[in-house]
Symmetry: C2
Subunit: 187 residues, 2 copies
DNA sequence: GCAAAATAGTTTAAGGTTAAAAGAAATTGC
DNA sequence: GCAATTTCTTTTAACCTTAAACTATTTTGC
């Protein structure tokens, strides 16, 4: 508005996406929209670079990241749980990564319904390169924020996370345990 | 790990998704993963409730939110820009919403390539209800975080946003203008 | 005027995503 | 033992999403 030209090619971010009446000045809503904007901005750029640089996608990268931490392989179900996506989703992702020769799957001997997946040697190499680049990219994108601010942000986001989890979970002791005890290692 | 049981049904969030070597303790990476966790947690819950309560989806809600702020209608291209999604994406969303009778589209007289979309009366009503609920949901999810912390978080996320935009955009004067001048209204 | 370029949208091919239904194998409870 | 249940995974139908190719229309540059 303050600029005359109709900003012909400027995208508009999520903070203006969900409109619901500007008179509704709830802090919560503004916070959520800004959080969403930040996450989308970063995620979109990471996806773009993964595609451009490694011709791969974020879900594939995520899946391989899980496998990298489980050298002995991992069951599909566990994978789906850790990635927080549906079983069917994992089925498809695994299929494509096997196709690419980056991971391998193998039916469990003890339980013939279950299947183990793990990185292939080539998959491990490929992932190492991607993880390095990924880490650099994130550091680059956040470089404008002083390290102290980053730490403060991280800390407050921890509280936010607890708030959200608290509001979502059935309030059962299970969720509480998970949040408090396993906190940052596996929340 | 600190808990004996294998946590049979506990999902694991994004902070453990991208694994790249735990010895890499970059603050940036940890911050990004936590940010992603928070955003995903909230977004998933909002999507779930939109489906459960209104039998709709977040993209549809977003689209209607844009239309609500443009009572005189809006061009598809402008819509796609504001939503930060591709043209083709908007084509499909509009199609479905027209089908549902929530929006209407109309070819422009002056430019027969262009099409205007706007909310129908029923669409406006429906959206009003959804927006109210949406606002309440967000407030509920964030309720555990003191209002002062929310404001602080919002403020720091503003800096983060600038950092990311600065790192992404070609550094041209256009991007700078957009970021500084239009700041929160339409960045 | 009119050919070339730019612009507005749609289509297509590929992939990610889910919920729900279904299939196959293992466990459980008599 | 074996029927009922649970568990692990795949399939299906629907949607969201994009990049690239394509169509239709308008503008621009002579």
């Amino acid at each position: 508005m303050s600029v005359t030209r109709p900003s012909p090619r400027e995208p508009v971010d999520a903070e203006s996406k969900v409109g619901e009446d500007l008179s509704n000045h709830r802090v919560e809503l503004r916070l959520w929209l800004r959080l969403l904007t930040c996450a989308n901005l970063i995620e979109a750029e990471i996806r773009r670079r993964l595609r451009e640089t490694f011709d791969t996608t974020l879900p594939r990268f995520d899946l391989m990241a899980q496998l990298e931490r489980a050298p002995d392989g991992i069951l599909l179900g566990e994978l789906s749980r850790r990635m927080m996506v549906s079983n069917g989703n994992v089925t498809g992702l695994v299929e494509r990564l096997v196709q690419e020769g980056l991971i391998e799957r193998q039916v469990s001997e003890r339980d013939r319904r279950a299947a183990l997946v793990r990185l292939t040697a080539r998959g491990a190499e490929t992932f190492a390169a991607m993880a390095r680049a990924h880490s650099d990219w994130v550091a680059e994108l956040l470089a404008g924020l002083p390290i102290e601010d980053q730490k403060a942000l991280w800390s407050r986001l921890g509280d936010l996370k607890l708030s959200v989890r608290g509001a979502i979970s059935p309030g059962g002791p299970d969720g509480v345990l998970t949040d408090t005890i396993e906190a940052e290692t596996k929340p």
